[in-house]
Symmetry: C2
Subunit: 367 residues, 2 copies
Amino acid sequence: MTTRRKFLTTAAKSAAAAGGLATIAAPAIAQSSDPIIRWRLVSSFPKNIETLYGCAEVMSKALAASTDNKFQIQVFAAGEVVPGLQAFDAVANNTVQICHSASYYYTGKDTAFAFGAHAPFMLNTRQQAAWAYHGEGKKLLEDFYRGFNVVAFPGGNTTTQMGGWFRKEIKSVEDLKGLKFRISGLGGQVLTRMGAVPQQLGIGDIYPSLERGTIDAAEFNGPADDEKLGLYKVAPHYYYPGFWDGTSMQHFFINSAEWDKLPKHYQAALQSAAALANIDSIARYDVLNPPALRRLVAAGAKLHAFPADVLDSAYDTTMELYEELSAKNPTFKKFYDSQKAFQKDASLWNQVSEFAYDSTIIRELRR
Amino acid sequence: MTTRRKFLTTAAKSAAAAGGLATIAAPAIAQSSDPIIRWRLVSSFPKNIETLYGCAEVMSKALAASTDNKFQIQVFAAGEVVPGLQAFDAVANNTVQICHSASYYYTGKDTAFAFGAHAPFMLNTRQQAAWAYHGEGKKLLEDFYRGFNVVAFPGGNTTTQMGGWFRKEIKSVEDLKGLKFRISGLGGQVLTRMGAVPQQLGIGDIYPSLERGTIDAAEFNGPADDEKLGLYKVAPHYYYPGFWDGTSMQHFFINSAEWDKLPKHYQAALQSAAALANIDSIARYDVLNPPALRRLVAAGAKLHAFPADVLDSAYDTTMELYEELSAKNPTFKKFYDSQKAFQKDASLWNQVSEFAYDSTIIRELRR
């Protein structure tokens, strides 16, 4: 028993003896003295992308509700405290206690960061969750983030993203040569090797750049979020699948010293609230994306699958890139080997389970 | 402020005045007097099916941890308090406060119960979650279960199940005629219409019945759970997909009077803990099923897809059944219409997102 607890227990006993509290206090009431804790959370996402920004609010509300408002986390949008892409650093250096961000934004620090969110041609949404919650990913990610003084819990997922908006059709891999494409991360590196010219642009600059033809294509997310940018008006060819974003998990990243100071039950409450936010995020996207896709197509978006030669060439290029990055960075290799082995088994299982079921449904709905 | 709270606040103030508690109590400490609550949970599942039984333990542990052990739920396996298939009734009549069960077990009360878990040829795992957490299913299910004095939260999912174990190959829909098949629920009704003879058997009776040839086939779950029954030795033909179990969600069902009596923060903590158990369950199955499938095939299980004529005939039979059940039961119709509309949009989105991504991965891994 800590000194504080012991003191409070003694105080409660005195109060009970003096005021007859015992009739209420025992055995049905536990006296507790939970600290009021107030944290600041920075999101990597702007408020107007409600699905992504909303994950932190869902978590924060669930946490406050389950701690009787004793553990309060105030959510700040990207740019309000630090720029969105500096959220992880703000946590690592304890400017704020917690952030909601995507691991792949930080591949500049270490290419292994990709695997916390997604890597091109790797896991799908359920596989990423399985690997991170119950597979080898759990310990790999824990140890990796701890190296930055950070504790992390999955806290959202955009699910498989689209391949983006193109001004002109892509008929073969040749059409990627010289293509100015707003894309970043490992996907950008793959496309560079295929002859495209990745561009870094803020979200607000995408529409005018496509309109003027300063860029030829841009990827953002899926229909629900893409719809807000209106890109179908200036780049109507909407490609799938986003092979560089087969899933895109976000995390709540927490400063490890702040985490270690929390009462154990606040830690547990935060962990459950993060799980709620994660499952809520996927469900929300799965409810919003289908009607958004319908509206986009009705408004003029032209859906295309990437040609097979683009996918094959992109896959081969990605595997070459992974071999090179593995040779350079043992941490990258450890993550890549783990996800690759998991994917091999999981993909076989998928072919006789959900993929087979989905194929059946698609076939029967078309008949 | 309730009388009890007011009294305790007054008592605390007196204690603070008398013993200098104020230095600790303000502003960093919130005095609270949370009741100790102990509930009993009955599971519909036996302990040796750890994945299914485990959901309740994951929830109960997370809940205890996040309430500093003040809200404790003791988990009982099927049969320890009531038989597994009476779990929902035990909650409805307040024999126990909470259970972990599958809604489709209770289609005998009302055929609409199917949609809380799964219905043949309806939603896949992510679609079921989306519909139940953020879609029309949320309110539909809430209102429906409230009619039985029950509050419910999703709390696990087996994901797409296999089509079961058959002593002989199924080469066409003709081979289903007279087939004695251990299967229940709406799937059993569909197969009856196709000429099969559904059998009700306890889990322990499946193996000897297949061995003796008393039955010709049996379905249970997916590889991880099926492996424990050893059915590949007596009925080696392992079919997919389980078109009657495209997903199989479980719920935590709670007596509504007990729920309404809970402090709000205990309600919130339980809700988050249930979400954690739900996501944990899917991740656990996704980690356990792939290697179990490999082991089963190595041990002699022969994997087969159901022939197209079986699937087509089963689909048509299911749609006829749904029309009849809709005509008889307006509640069934309400649920069915909602899931059918959701499936139509969601399946189109699936074809350009995860299904397209999974197809690409399968193709590239085979090249």
